[in-house]
Amino acid sequence: MNYFPDEVIEHIFDFISSHKDRNSISLVSKSWHKIERCSRKRVFIGNCYAINPERLIQRFPSLRSLTLKGKPHFADFNLVPHEWGGFVHPWIVALAKARVELEELRLKRMVVSDESLELLSRSFASFKSLVLVSCEGFTTDGLASVATNCRHLRELDLQENEIDDHRGQWLNCFPQSSTALTSLNFSCLKGETNLAALERLVARSPNLESLKVNRAVPLDALTRLMSCAPQLVDLGVGSYENEPDQESFMKLMAAIKKCTSLRSLSGFSEVTPLCLTAFYPICQNLTSLNLSYAAEIQGNHLIRFIQFCKRLQRLWILDSIGDKGLEVVASTCKELQELRVFPSDLHDEEDNDTAVTEIGLVAISAGCPKLHSLLYFCKQMTNAALITVAKNCPNFIRFRLCILEPNKPDHTTSQSLDEGFGAIVQACKGLRRLSLSGLLTDKVFLYIGMYAEQLEMLSIAFAGDTDKGMLYVLNGCKKMRKLEIRDSPFGNTALLADVDKYRTMRSLWMSSCEVTLGGCKRLARNAPWLNVEIINENENNDLMMERNEEDEREKVDRLYLYRTVVGARKDAPPCVTIL
């Protein structure tokens, strides 16, 4: 079967980095499976409960980089109890025991403890990169262990984690000999920072390309940091609620001017308009800008800033920019690929006339032909606008629209938004991710099932009329991996219609829908390779199981099911029942 020696095949495989492709390679033949698995360095596990660490290590002995995801996506919006699970500790224990030469660990929505971080830091001599996204359970003491013990650390990237800040000296823990840092992001830390230690660390890290500080780093410290790291490519600034005096302002501007490699700017959790102007000199170089935390800045200042950013590819902004501001973006940022517009007012107040509407979205679609990823929070939408957007931008890969008020119809026709979203899925043949909102009937799901051939992730809220809606999606979307549904009238019929479909999906989430306990039990019986989890926050589930048959008709609060090869997990808390 093989015309080349194994080493040659392995070398060829080295050129193939995508997980999907490597997974495909391993299915070709036994021999290829062996070569592939023995040479595989990077592994991605989308659901930490689908497999266990022992089997992972058995299959991939040369593992160097591991990515793990824990809680389901809706955990971001407080729909999953804190104690649900997703603990990284057993993974680190197993990897350490097997003496895997781990170099990189990337975790998303997992529970990480200081103990885990300490063990990690002591077990892997070549450890280089730690990326934690939306994780929780640890403190700055854990960071101190990583800083102290990981001699070859290059990347420490903490994004939106819940970290208990003990205001310790974790930054001081980086040894003098540590000069390899390329990326340091501690923007989510809430406490004070040892500025002197930070400055010394940055000064001795000539390869530092990405630095994101937290709110506590004041302006003059930022100026000094930038002065000793003019090579920075990616900068996250702190919080500046007071205007600087003239001298500080001039110094900041001078330091910024020197950072000619700067391409990405973020942070700004509080920033005065004046501070923002200090960055004007490098705006034209920026490809990525995140001003979505700058709640104080009014639209006109944002607009003024963006007018200079002609090379922008990624923009995250608040809706205080307004439709007018988006029109400016559309005429300025011709290279724009990704846009996220977040709400600055969650309560949809009537007098808030600076939020964005369908007008801004249409303008963007008309002006930015390269746009492929969108997250858009708005007060209102129309079918006509969505149809126009679909025509202008058939290249969407990710289209996430959130109309703030649930069930809101097209505000000009009072009809549902089925036709609008239908146009999107029909035109955007490469669409992989879609989030729906507004008034929607079963029809939109008919369209999705018919046209969204590449769709992998679908988020549904307050939509649909009957089980038919969900069935259209399950039957039609062959590539569906993650389906998450809340507050929609889908029940047992849809859930049970095609059990084998769940073999091809990573997970299904249904909350506040019509599925009953009886339906879930039946599914669990028919699909032993699924973990069917019932999450009830306030109930003792043992009591629930003892109740009589009648309660099988009781609706399930939250259902989360996922395929797994290792059976029911043993670490579920009391509020979770695995059927």
């Binding site: 989510c188 308009p273 935390y293 709640a295 009014q298 009072s414 009957t466 507050d487 047992n492």
Partner: protein, 186 residues
């Protein structure tokens, strides 16, 4: 007949999701599910919402809108602050020598000095003269000044506009001999 198949679920109907559900069953879900049957019914329903026992619809839905807590906290902080300050806008008092009462203007309404001075000229019916970087305003008895955060009286126009908006506490249009002391090179 399979008791788990909910015949009602496959029933073809025009109503919106959940219209069968009574509020009490789903305390965490918004009570505000409107029907498709026309505007008047919506109005009735929403006015019922206001007077009825259901709590305000916007506050009630857990996890909606789908925004992370870190973002929600920021928005809440901003809202609290602006509520306590009484809204947006940079309002400063404007006085003019000889005028019987003061006025108030919102600096954030203007894009730059030109607009601001024009507005002041109209408001107080005067002319401001021409601005020179070294000599200040020439050609008029009136000189526009402002008090900055340090309590000093400064000539309007010297510093960048954004810096001015941030540091200006109040405006004063000086007149005649008093104006001669302000600015350089006079």
């Amino acid at each position: 007949m399979d008791e788990f198949v909910n015949l009602k679920a496959t029933e073809l109907r025009l109503g919106l999701p959940g219209t069968d559900n009574v509020c009490e069953e789903r305390e965490r879900v918004s009570c505000n599910k409107r029907t498709l049957q026309g505007v008047t019914e919506n109005e009735t329903e929403s006015s019922m919402m206001k007077t009825g026992t259901c709590p305000p619809r916007k506050a009630q839905i857990v996890g909606w809108p789908p925004v992370r807590s870190s973002r929600k906290n920021i928005i809440q902080t901003k809202k609290n602050e602006s509520d306590s300050e009484g809204g947006r806008g940079v309002y400063v008092k404007v006085s003019m020598d000889g005028a019987p009462y003061l006025r108030k203007i919102d600096l954030s309404c203007y894009k730059g000095y030109k607009e601001l001075l024009k507005a002041l000229e109209i408001m107080f019916n005067f002319s401001v003269g021409e601005y020179f970087e070294r000599e200040g305003y020439k050609g008029s008895d009136f000189v526009p000044t402002y008090e900055d955060k340090d309590g000093d009286w400064m000539l309007i126009g010297d510093v960048p506009w954004e810096m001015f908006v941030c540091t200006c506490k109040r405006l004063r249009i000086m007149r005649g001999s008093e104006a001669k002391g302000v600015g350089c090179g006079v």
